[in-house]
């Protein structure tokens, strides 16, 4: 697929990277040509859409829950500094060590230092978007620390030296036959090999993952997680999951480091009553996910006795400064917007060139990095038809279409002064439309121009997806003049 590198160090480090990915239109073209990918995606997103619709329709006051979720997050963001300080105080009081990280590099350094200080050379990982965002596995590998992904889909991606393509199901682009092949090829190099009699039955594949990872869970001394929520008042972190790999990582090792984006904070424990209703139904389409774990610093005699929390900015304060865009920080990473998006369903996640694909990725990446950061990020606000399905599905009512439009404007602003095809065309149009005489001249030349464009193929980027209309035999203005505005038309 988009993988560019090779696997080293016993399969623990993957060199597949989003760095250097082409802009969305080019990447999407490659993805669209992959019919297996499109079939996998259509099946998977269709399944999850139906499940979500079923469980959401069970909740009479769903719209009120969405409003409540949005309001809680907005209120928190407006006083984010205060809530972060409250969270820090509560965590420290409960025996956790709090670190602050301005960017990805700083966060990775902190995690690596904890590993080094404890003479740890491998960590087990709970599925976490934020550790992917900061490239933690790669950073740990350069420090000689192996990071084992333990979520089934993450394991498939890691063993396949692949890239994630969905927030909830990073291996959504793989079907069961492909997964079986990856397990047979790569499990042995990373630990316990796949069973000899493995089939492509999902239950058998899940069992192979269970056997492969159990020895790692039992021996790991350190785990790394993210958090779905961080309760400021109590210092409680929350991880929502399905497989029990999260519980294994959060419970069995001696040392736990959780990397938490600063927008994950909620003020009080009882605020969770909204999000624990919104998240599972929006995400996996279940009334409740199989396991939700909460922990508050160190619990003597139960679970990790050395607990670290890394509070990460990495662009979040940039997004917070964007008056319209800051609502993207409400996001609870459910992925409902991906599953309903007609663009995502056809291109898949890799085309977005980021760990955050789909509609939320199309706004989050430019908000975190800033317009004009790089051509790939600048292409994302255009990766949408603005149909609005994402807004309808979003459990915290992020108005993604409006932010997309606003981000498009910001991309244009960032490129002002630099020549562009659109810019030249618009300048030309302005000059042509300034006087009737120039327009008349242009109209006479249009048939010629269109014919020339067709012959020379210069309009290819337009015509590859659309028809170039045939030139009219006579322009409107010429017709008006000839027929005196239609009065003499019958005489023509």
């Amino acid at each position: 697929m988009v993988s560019t590198g090779s696997t080293t160090r016993g399969g623990s480090t993957t060199r597949a990277t989003f760095v250097g990915m082409p802009a969305f239109p080019a990447a999407a073209r490659t993805a669209l040509a992959d019919s297996q990918l499109r079939a996998n995606l259509a099946h998977a997103t269709g399944t999850i859409r139906a499940k979500r619709l079923h469980v959401v329709s069970e909740v009479d006051d769903w719209e009120e829950l969405r409003l409540a979720g949005a309001a809680i997050k907005d209120n928190t963001l407006r006083h984010l500094d205060e809530h972060l300080l409250t969270l820090e105080t509560a965590l420290t009081a409960r025996g956790a060590t709090v670190h602050w990280a301005r960017d990805a590099q700083e966060a990775c350094r902190i995690v690596a230092r904890v590993a080094k200080d404890n003479a740890v050379d491998e960590v087990v990982k709970v599925k976490s978007m934020v550790t992917q965002e900061i490239g933690l596995n790669e950073a740990l590998a350069t420090e000689g620390v192996a990071a084992w992904e333990t979520d089934l889909a993450e394991l498939i991606v890691q063993l396949g030296d692949d890239l994630p393509s969905h927030i909830l199901v990073p291996a959504i682009h793989r079907n069961r036959a492909e997964i079986k092949a990856i397990f047979e090829r790569s499990m042995a190099a990373a630990g316990r090999p796949a069973p000899d009699d493995l089939t492509d039955d999902p239950a058998r594949l899940a069992e192979a993952a269970r056997l492969h990872l159990r020895e790692k869970f039992l021996r790991a001394r350190m785990a790394v997680s993210g958090a779905n929520f961080a309760v400021a008042e109590t210092g409680t972190l929350v991880v929502v999951e399905s497989e029990g790999n999260g519980r294994m990582c959060l419970t069995l090792p001696e040392i736990l480091v959780s990397v938490v984006g600063i927008e994950k904070v909620v003020p009080t424990y009882d605020d969770l009553d909204v999000f624990l209703q919104l998240l599972p139904r929006s995400s996996t389409g279940e009334r409740m996910n199989p396991y939700t774990s909460t922990w508050t610093g160190v619990t003597p005699g139960d679970g990790p006795q050395q607990v670290h929390v890394v509070l990460l900015d990495n662009g979040r304060t940039r997004a917070l400064a964007d008056e319209l865009g800051r609502q993207a920080l409400r996001c609870i990473r459910c992925s409902a917007c991906l599953n309903v998006c007609p663009v995502y369903e056809r291109t898949g996640g890799h085309a977005y060139g980021s760990v955050y694909p789909g509609p939320i990725g199309a706004i989050l990446n430019p908000l975190l990095k800033g317009a004009g950061h790089d051509p790939q990020t600048d292409s994302l606000p255009y990766a949408s038809t603005l149909c609005g399905a994402c807004f309808e599905a979003c459990p915290v009512r992020i108005d993604i279409p409006s932010i997309l439009v606003d981000q498009r404007a910001k991309v244009v602003d960032a490129h002002r002064g630099r020549p562009s095809v659109t810019g030249v065309a618009m300048k030309g149009a302005a000059a042509t439309l300034r006087t009737g005489r120039r327009l008349g001249l242009a109209e006479k030349l249009t048939p010629l121009g269109l014919r020339a464009a067709r012959l020379l193929g210069v309009a290819h980027r337009w015509t590859s997806a659309r028809d170039l209309p045939p030139p009219a035999a006579e322009s409107f203005r010429a017709w008006w003049q000839r027929t005196d505005g239609g009065r003499d038309d019958d005489q023509a």
Partner: protein, 207 residues
């Protein structure tokens, strides 16, 4: 000479800078969901709890208080090694947790625990890992989890459960919310029960 600000001060300063000039008046949070009309009577609620737990392909057995020990014993496979949390109210067969290592626990086939709350709407049981429930590893590593829930612990929905668990006595204690056996939908979004957590969850509802 200026020193580079530390990460903490710099992030807080960035947050304050980003919010400068923002209207910080609180947005009203609608809380109607916390007082939903009761649609089910007590017995209807318990029936719903059972149905919803079973929806996750967990097993449920209902029994009277006097029959808990016999019921649990009949669920445990013959000859299975069973580990028990300290403070379990029912004298079921098994070995009391003695601070076993994870590898030790992996040698046990089953665990029997109590619970703190059951949620009818979602078929969820919540453990707060106090007496009778045991530390978190105990109900995680063995492959069969038998969980005894008393009928009076079953509440209607998530807001009711959160209100109960927000009590001072649970502050700071870890919680595990369990809805069925471990499961994954990571392969083609088809649900498969049984991954890393207990592959079988058997709830005993006592009324």
């Amino acid at each position: 000479m200026t020193t580079k600000p530390d990460a903490r001060s710099e992030i807080l300063a960035r947050v304050r800078g980003a919010l400068a000039g923002t209207d910080v008046a609180p947005v009203q949070v609608p809380r109607g969901y916390r007082s939903r009309p009761e649609r089910l009577d007590r017995s209807g609620l318990l029936t719903r709890f059972v149905e919803r737990v079973e929806d996750y392909r967990a097993q449920v057995t209902r029994c009277a208080e006097a029959d808990v020990i016999r019921t649990v014993a009949s669920i445990l496979p013959t000859g299975a090694r069973v580990v028990l949390p300290p403070g379990l109210l029912w004298d079921v067969p098994g070995v009391a947790d003695d601070g076993f290592t994870a590898t030790d626990l992996d040698g046990y086939a089953a665990v029997v625990t109590a619970a703190t709350v059951g949620i009818a709407e979602t078929g969820t049981i919540v453990l707060t890992h106090g007496p009778g429930e045991g530390r978190r590893a105990l109900s995680l590593v063995p492959d069969l989890h038998v969980c005894v829930v008393r009928a009076d612990q079953v509440v209607a929905d998530v807001p009711d459960a959160v209100r109960l668990l927000d009590a001072e006595s649970y502050r700071g204690r870890p919680q595990t919310w369990i809805s069925g056996p471990s499961a994954t939908s990571d392969i083609e979004l088809d649900r498969v029960e049984g991954v890393h957590g207990p592959r079988t969850l058997h709830v005993v509802l006592v009324s």
